[in-house]
Each structure stands twice: as C-alpha cells, then as structure tokens.
C-alpha cells in the first residue's frame, strides 16, 4: 500500500513539474511579438506583425485611427478606418508595427460582447463546482477524492 502511495506521490510531482516545464517552455519560446517589444526596439521590429495584446481596448478615436490601451502594457496609436468604432470596446487586432511608433491594422474585430461573455461564464463555473461538492468528497484519511455515499 505504501509503495502504491509513494508511486502516486512521485507521479503527482512528475506531472506537476511537467506542467511547470510547459509553462516555462511557453514563456521562453513563444513567437508572440508584443507592443512593448516593438516600442523598446522600433528599428528591429519595423514591419513586424503584432497579434498579441493584453486585454486591448479602444481608448479614444481620432481622425485616422484610434488609441489602443492595454491592461498591462503601453498605449499605441492604430491607423485604420474608424467607421463603426466605439470607445471602451475590447478589440481583436492584427497589425503591422511601424518604426515611427504606431500600428497599421491589417485585420480588426470589435469584441462587442466580451464583457457579457465573461460574466455569463461565471454561473456555469459555480454550478459545476457545486455539483462537484455534491457528488465528490475528499477523504483526508486515504488522501483520495471519492464518490459520496449518497451520490
């Protein structure tokens, strides 16, 4: 019994390390170019396609584009047709960086219902958590999650 338990603990540690390793690998090797990367070294990133933004939002609209704000990251001007744009909306964007310090939109989508989507996703999470508590219990003696007797 102890041998099986030890094997299980070793398995848990190995899988946990593998998950951490995947995270580190992603951090080190991801090909995503951020606005910060571009602004830190504009000459090198001139013409680079930026697709990754951190919760990008339309901060303000000006004549030939808009100012894009991010939750964690710098603001940047995006040049594009402003028809239909609204401030405060989340956006999806694929844009080319120019060394002068602005982006030129290649593809653009306004994620109008993103806030609804986030809030609508909360009740199902709570429901599933409640159902898990209803049907399963943690047995501290054995260290296992088991079916409840009345499940």
């Amino acid at each position: 019994m102890n041998g099986i338990m030890n094997l299980r603990i070793v398995g848990i540690i190995i899988i946990f390390l593998a998950i951490a390793g995947l995270g580190y690998y992603n951090y080190r090797t991801n090909p995503w170019i951020s606005v910060s990367d571009c602004l830190d070294d504009p000459e090198s990133y001139d013409g680079a396609v930026v697709t990754r933004f951190r919760e990008p939002m339309i901060k303000s609209i000006c004549g030939n584009g808009f100012v894009l704000s991010q939750k964690q990251g710098p603001e940047i001007k995006v040049v594009m047709d402003t028809t239909g744009l609204r401030t405060g909306e989340f956006v999806g964007l694929r844009a080319v960086f120019h060394r002068e310090g602005y982006l030129e939109a290649v593809k653009f989508h306004m994620s109008e219902r993103r806030r609804y989507k986030i809030w609508l996703s909360v009740p199902p999470v709570l429901l599933v958590m409640l159902l898990c508590l209803r049907y399963f219990r943690f047995n501290s003696r054995t260290g296992y999650i088991e079916l409840r007797k009345n499940a």
Partner: protein, 158 residues
C-alpha cells in the same frame, strides 16, 4: 472561447444521452466530471489572463491539449483508484469537446495550438466570432430543457 454556458450545455447535450441505457451508479458524477473537463481549460487560464494579462506567457499551455492531458492526469491521481480511469477519461473527453468548440471560432491570430509544444502552428475552422454565440444561449438552454423532458419521458415509458 465560446462562453462557458455554451460549453457546459454542449457537454450536457453530448453526454446525457449515454445515461439512457446506463445503470452505473457513478454515471451522474462522471457526467459532472465531463462538465468539469469542458470548463477546465478556461478556468485554469482566463481568470489569470483577464486579471493579470502578463501571465499569459506562462499559463497558456494549460489551454492546449498537451496541458489538458497533464492536468487531467494530475486530477486523476487524486481520485480513488476505483473511479480513477473513468474520471480521467471523462475529464479528458470534456477537455476534447472544449478544444473542438474553441476551434470553431474565428481568431485574428493563431490561437488554438493543438500540437503544442511540438508546433506553434495554429488550428481552427474559423466559423464564428466568440461573441456571436451569445444570442444563441437561450436556445442552448432550451435544448438542454428539451433533452431533460425527453429523458424523463423515455424513463417513464421504459
């Protein structure tokens, strides 16, 4: 991602008919694990990403099939041996359904890295924007209700 109501409703509609013929006492708890599997990729990544976007570079692998296989394996090791394999398969099945639905939505960047960590090539069918699903949520809920009505009718006439 589509919203999680859509994910859970799709999981319900797919998994519930298997209970028509099943007499296994664990079938309902396993369905709950199927639900859990279908929301796991999002609940492990999105809250962090929304609250602290900079963490995406670290947490994104949990929203890939490889990451899900590991997470489900980890959770399965916490399950009692008598239900471990079933629990694992249900968690994994739910995760697979999640990635299938996510692959249907449009992205401006490659977002579904099914072959991560072996490839950064994106995968997807580019059928709809994630926000376009929201008006259909009432219909998804209606479908779930109709499914339950049918299940009750079937059991009564069995």
């Amino acid at each position: 991602m589509p919203d999680l109501i859509t994910h859970v409703a799709a999981a319900h509609l797919l998994r519930r008919p298997f209970e028509l013929k099943s007499h296994d006492s664990a079938t309902v708890p396993m369905r709950v694990l199927f639900y859990l599997g279908t929301i796991l990729p999002d609940i492990l990544t999105r809250p962090w990403y929304i609250l602290f976007p900079a963490t995406m570079e670290w947490t994104y692998p949990l929203h890939t099939p490889a990451g899900m296989i590991l997470v489900c394996s980890l959770l399965a090791l916490f399950m009692a041996p008598s239900i471990r394999m079933k629990a694992y398969l249900h968690l994994l099945g739910g995760g697979a359904l999640h990635f299938l639905l996510d692959a249907c939505q449009k992205h401006l960047s490659n977002n579904e890295f099914w072959f991560y960590p072996f490839s950064w090539r994106g995968f997807g069918f580019q059928l709809f924007w994630s926000g376009e699903v929201i008006p259909f949520i009432p219909y998804m809920i209606l479908a779930v209700v109709l499914m339950e009505v049918f299940m009750a009718w079937y059991k009564r006439h069995q």
